[in-house]
Amino acid sequence: MIALLRSEWTKFRTVRGWIAGSIVAILLTAGVGLLGAAGSVRSCEGPQGDVCPEIPIGPGGQAVTDRFSFYHRALPADGSITARVTGVSGVITYPPPGHDRIVPGVVPWAKVGVMVKRDLTQGSAYTAVMVTGDHGTRVQDDFVNDLAAGRDPWVRLSRKGDVLTGATSPDGKSWRVVASTRMAGPAVVGLFAASPCDVTLSQGSLGGIVGACRLTNVTGRFENVSVEGATGSWTHDDIGGEPGAPSLSVGSARDWGTAVQLTGSGDVAPAGIEGGAVIERTLSGATIGLIAVIVVAVLFVTAEYRRGLIGSTLAATPGRTGVLPAKAAVVAAVTFAGGLVAAAVAVPVGLRLMRDRNNAVAPVGTLTEVRVIVGTAALLAVTAVLALAMGAIFRRSAAAVVATIVLVLLPQLLATASVIPAAAAEWLLRVTPAAGFAIQQSIPMYPQVEDYSVPALGYYPLPPWGGFAVSFLYAAAALGAAIVLLRRRDA
């Protein structure tokens, strides 16, 4: 096998066109994204000059939405808050189908409940127990963590030492502990209300997806409100509230002692597409670079058929089984190395260019960034193997190139260019080798966020490595079929 690998590597490196094609693939993969990054400028002209609003960052490092109505007191040390949610109502502006009226109603992820938060700055740590519009009672903390907790109306948060415990109860007597988190030091405790905008997606008449996010608010009625360990007086704040915001989004609190009515808008959750540009935007060239990768990988095998050279190859390796794996290994290694260089340049340089031009970039952890870079290189390599197998199956360059593009790039293009319905797009990204592009998605889709969760906006239906596995299996199956055919057919 070592001899075969050396032999196939010599074959690859001694044809100038293939080396040139591989370099073109690198340049396209890195260049397209960099050009895009260099060309995207954000400007936020306003009364204070060209100042773009900061996107709050949560304790986990993600961009978050932290806008809600908060009725609170100080919590220096141990303590607790208990309340019974007796009513949830709200307003939805201009909902479907007519989008022509303001109606009463509660969106599914409207939230009212109790919260302990580090402080009043956006993005600070918190734990909350809440009743939602349509998702029952839940315990959430630090924006990304979300636990379902039945449908009980009684909610309680208590802190002892640095342990925060969230509990629910059907009657205020028997309590069920749902989750524990940690928060030490001075904090703020209180009631909160938030109602995210009403997301609607529709197919544009000229293609494309039209997304709309229409203002809503929610009013929660709390009874049996009791607080222990709190100091200071009750205060109402619209966290993240902006001057001049529409009146429906302005929160308010009415207090009758143990009963409180709290109105609010906004959300306490991971940011969706409002969280800034995603890092994979710098790798948009991968789809174009992939064309060069496919052509080189196909030619690496079909050129032998066209020239009759396959006879020499098979006479030298009459067992035949090892020939295609050796070729696949060479093409995968070359493509992976090239893809890694391209992505490792495009992502950091592209992000730098975007930030220099005032663009907000959704922050991600180092591991995610590495996964996007290495995953992109791996996806290119896997697709190269698929293309090589197609070349061996079809034995003709044009047919193999077209087949691979139809399998990989066409679904990706159809799904992300939003020319087909979202459901069809998601299906394509599950069952075709285009599923592997999920490896590039840096911001996960959170179930507790009603967002434009469609492929056209960069959300893949499969998780990153799950999608990659689909592409990998396609390549493995095609290579297996090609090996069997090579053994069976006359050269």
Binding site: S7, T14, V15, G308, L309, G311, S312, P318, G319
Partner: protein, 301 residues
């Protein structure tokens, strides 16, 4: 491994066209075996089956007693030139041999040796796409020699060679056979094998028409004929015909006489007063012997 090729009862169809129809022969060591026949006789298909490129529908082909497909490092057992144009044009001749060598665990030194052996040293680092047909043949021969194999198969190696090249390859084939190797050389022109082949296998329509030592073949084809060289061709023909001989004109001043021995021919010509420069026993060329053998099996298309 002993230097033999044994082809036994090979049958092969491509679609509905039969290519091989019971092809059977053996190639022994120490001699050049010519494999001759018109285009379409099945020579190339037989060779492709021997090196495992095509699978026969029936029959077997063994090299040194084993199937080619079971060989490890096969190029050290069997070297084959099947299609000299099978080259990646943008790759240099040297690199073409290098990947072949590496697939057999051989090094770059062996590549340079065979390049020198076939006289391609100076052109080795040029792109093979720019090679003449003759240079491609030399490169293909170099590839066959790469593993220093005891068995060599050459399919139409004379194609595209200039006269100098033909002289060179004849010498090479002879010396390879003299080293004890089994050498099978196919050609559709018997004349190319004159003075090289010690044995010929004549193929027609997918099977063996004749399988003989060259000496026997020529002797049989020459049987009882006499060559006459004379300036008075018309007179000679008349006299010889009157004596009952069959006369064929073979040149402006040469005739071939059959049905009359050499001495009788001299007597007839002398008696008739016809001047002649030479009367000799006629030795058929390999070409003539071949034409006689394949007269029936040539397919006209």
């Amino acid at each position: 491994m002993d230097a033999t090729v044994a082809v036994n009862g090979l049958r092969k169809r491509f679609g509905t066209t039969p290519a091989l129809d019971g092809m059977t022969f053996t190639v022994g060591p120490g001699t050049v075996t010519g494999f001759v026949g018109p285009n379409g006789a099945g020579k190339s298909t037989t060779m492709r089956i021997v090196v495992g490129l095509d699978r026969p529908d029936a029959g077997s082909a063994l090299v040194g007693g084993v199937a080619y497909r079971t060989l490890r490092r096969p190029l050290t057992h069997v070297g084959a030139l099947l299609d000299a144009s099978a080259l990646q044009p943008s790759r240099t001749g040297r690199h073409h041999l290098l990947w072949l060598a590496q697939s057999q665990g051989l090094g770059a030194r062996r590549v340079d040796e065979v390049l020198d052996q076939v006289g391609l040293g100076p052109a080795a680092r040029r792109r093979a796409g720019g090679y003449s047909l003759g240079m491609r043949q030399r490169l293909g021969i170099a590839a066959a020699l790469l593993g220093d194999p005891p068995i060599l198969l050459f399919d139409e190696p004379f194609n595209g060679l200039d006269p100098e090249g033909i002289v060179w390859i004849r010498g090479l084939l002879r010396s390879l056979a003299d080293e004890g190797r089994a050498v099978l050389v196919s050609s559709h022109l018997m004349s190319e094998l004159q003075d090289v082949a010690g044995h010929v296998v004549v193929a027609g329509r997918g099977r063996v028409v004749a399988d003989r030592d060259v000496e026997d073949l020529i002797a049989a084809a020459s049987d009882g004929r006499v060559g006459v060289r004379t300036a008075a061709r018309e007179d000679a023909m008349e006299a010889l015909a009157r004596a009952g001989a069959t006369v064929t004109v073979t040149g402006p001043d040469t005739l071939t006489v059959s049905g009359l021995p050499g001495a009788g021919t001299v007597a007839v010509l002398t008696a008739a007063g016809v001047p002649f420069a030479e009367v000799s026993a006629h030795r058929a060329t390999l070409e003539e012997a071949y034409m006689e053998l394949t007269r029936e099996s040539v397919e006209f298309r």
